[in-house]
């Protein structure tokens, strides 16, 4: 079986394969034993044989209890092993570096904290724990890298995570393994594992603009600045210092302007209308992607920071 397996390219892969091989040996032995006994009985007690058949109908309670209890104990042992490995697979180390993944029909959009973006590919350094924080823009997808023995569904409206530490340089297939529509089979890509130095060079080379700058560009491109800009004639809320502040709403309640609020204000503006403003903002649902929202939030966050510093300077 070892030759059949995909390459072991993460710290977890070896442990997973060991468990697999042990289980294969156990279940294989039992299966072969049962087959051998079955064939032996079939030959020895075939209709025309003259084998001894005295006391054929005895039921032996001891035998029954034995083959109930022994598999049970074996299964409990396997469960214990599996669950301890599994809790390791599901719990990222505290120092794992985050990378963000947005899935949509039918592509993977990857966003590094430094602003580097990739589509259908992921570059990671060797030997460093990586934590992927993932969400989906439409249906359920699943991030699957066979070489890492890791897999996690990517859900809309929620974040899920997956972690690994790559141990071997090379390119490994990245697959979507939750059925997601027409081009499900084409929602594939590559994970490239690089030496830390190469990775640093790669980050440098692809260091486009930071996330906040991308957001600023989008702020203009999507026409946000047309209403929310300082020279605008439209009566729309000023967004300086918005992030983290408390916003009074039209229905009298108040809400903290966190990521969720900003995202909803862009995608579902009618949901929470700020007090004193007409509900005239159009919804951007379907017009811009989750990754765009991400950039816009980063941009608004940065405007929050700049106003803070400006205030301090006064």
């Amino acid at each position: 079986m070892m030759t059949m397996a995909p390459p072991q390219a993460s710290t977890l892969a070896g442990s997973v394969d060991t468990l697999f091989d042990v289980m294969l040996a156990l279940t294989g032995t039992i299966s072969v034993a049962v087959f051998v006994v079955m064939i032996f009985f079939c030959v020895k007690y075939r209709r025309r044989s003259h084998a001894d058949r005295s006391n054929a109908n005895q039921t032996r309670l001891g035998v029954e209890v034995a083959w109930t209890v022994v598999p049970f104990l074996m299964f409990m042992a396997l469960f214990g092993w599996s669950i301890s490995l599994w809790s390791r697979m599901r719990t990222p180390p505290a120092d794992a570096a985050p990378i963000y993944v947005v899935a949509k029909q039918w592509m993977w959009k990857v966003q590094h904290p430094g602003g580097q973006r990739e589509i259908d590919s992921l570059h990671v350094p060797l030997g460093r724990p990586i934590r992927l924080v993932m969400t989906s823009q439409d249906v359920i997808h699943d991030f699957y890298v066979p070489a890492f023995r890791q897999k996690q569904d990517v859900l809309p409206g929620r974040y899920t995570q997956l972690w690994f530490t790559a141990t071997r340089e090379g390119e490994y297939p990245l697959l979507c393994s939750q059925y997601c529509g027409t081009d499900h089979a084409r929602m594939t890509g590559n994970v490239t594992v690089m030496k830390p130095a190469d990775y640093a060079r790669w980050l440098q080379a692809h260091a486009g603009t930071g996330l906040a700058e991308q957001g600023a560009e989008r702020f203009r491109r999507f026409g946000c600045s047309g209403c929310h800009g300082s020279q605008s004639s439209v009566h729309a809320p000023d967004l300086d210092g918005l992030y983290g502040s408390t916003v009074p709403l039209a229905d009298g309640s108040q809400v903290r302007a966190d990521d969720r609020y900003i995202r909803d204000s862009i995608m579902l503006p009618r949901k929470q209308v700020a007090a004193g403003y007409a509900p005239i903002m159009p919804s951007y649902t379907g017009r811009i992607g989750e990754d765009d929202v991400l950039a816009l939030i980063a941009y608004l966050k940065s405007r929050h920071a700049t106003t803070e510093t400006a205030r301090e300077q006064h």
């Binding site: 697999f20 109908n57 029954e64 599996s82 697979m89 859900l155 499900h184």
Partner: protein, 535 residues
Amino acid sequence: MNSIESAVPPPRSYLDDGHSLRSWLFTHDHKRIAILYALAITFFFFLGGFAAMLIRLELITPAGDLLTADAYNKAFTFHGVVMVWFFLIPSIPATLGNFLLPMMIGARDMAFPRLNLFSWYLYMIGGLFTLAMLVLGGVDTGWTFYTPFSTMFSNGHVMLTVVGVFVVGFSSILTGINFIVTTHSMRAPGMTWMRLPLFVWAMYAVALVMVLATPVLAMTLSLIALERIFGVGIFDPALGGDPVLFQHFFWFYSHPAVYIMVLPAMGVVSELITAGARKRIFGYRFMVWAIVGISVVGFLVWGHHMFVAGQSMYASMVFSILSFIIAVPSAIKVFNWTATLYKGRIDFNAPMLYALGFVGLFMLGGMTGIFLAATALDVSLHDTYFVVAHFHYIMVGGSVMAYLGGIHFWWPKVTGRLYSQAWARFAAILMFFGFNLTFFPQYLLGYEGMPRRYHEYLPQFQVLNILSSAGASILAVSYLLPLVYLGWSLRHGPRAGPNPWRAKGLEWLTDSPPPTHNFEVTPVVNEGPYAYEDA
């Protein structure tokens, strides 16, 4: 019995009780209803099989060249929907169960014969919806209907499919109610619970699952339909709804549904092996409790379909340990079947070959199930061909082998004719090899990391896929063969006596084919099942 025959002419068999179409379509006779089911189910089996053929043809090459991506998605969805709800779930219960349950407990009919007929009509109506879906262009959600794809994104005929499955679900609920009540209140004098044949126990356990799980599916599918109509619903992530909640509801039905498919097979095989080995089943009480245990614990393991779906870690732990536990009764059954052969007088007739094939394939399928119950392994195996191979070993290697074995075993009882043993043995052996050639490579494919439901795949998977497709063509031939020789036996087969296998069980006491009310005199039972003393 012989003394009666000399006095009065033998009673008319149920087959001679009217030959008009009307006498069939309005019958209340459980045996005729069983035959109506058998015809419909065979039709759907070959329809679903045709879709499988398209899938295997497409997968011969890594590129998606035979079908478009959409056509491929529709093919596997249709294959799944038809095979699960229109073949596997009704297969053994609605045909063999309907025919045999009243006879095995010594009753004249089911408790509610009209309800029985009504559930066949529900099955047919559900089938018509599904055919309408196919004719109008199909559906591409997969048989699992995961939200939000099925509610917000799919352009297929989700509504028609959902309605079809909903209706056929009620057919299965009504069958379940009928089985439960029949087993409770129609048993012949002396037929105590611990004298019931294991097939009856299996039918009873299956009926429990049908009655308690199917309504959950029905309501869940209604929620999908409403969400599609109104554009809002509790699974909609945009409102804060939870798509994983759908998976909970779906698998609360669909995991027990797996036991709806395999418990009857276990019942059939228990009958076949005792008759073939001419020996009592080893450990009858353990077999009974294993059946009951599987049907109850089967309701507590559904979360093992959701280990990587965003379910809580703690919930996964609980579902994992329960999934390991449910493997124990299955293991007990395999060991007991094997032990039944010990000191038997084994006759390798066709039903016995099917039964032995079942035990082997079921064991391989069950063993790989343990890999999937282990959370750490399931992470990498989930949603790959490993899973596909695993459940086909249980469903196709297990249930279909047992279904065909049962058909071969009770064929003389149902039709009064014998078929060619040579051909039947050949078909059984061919099926065993064809099946393994088709699905064993899929274990390896999954282990290597090929995800399921892929229209195109990486080139390194091609060799195994070709093997699998080659196996599928052998399998297709072996499924067509019984149609020929069983059909031939209807006209030309020699007459079968009441008990051609010299088997035990009340159904073998009456004529073949049985009279309309099964027994001329209600039998009185005074011994346990499988009282083979001549071993």
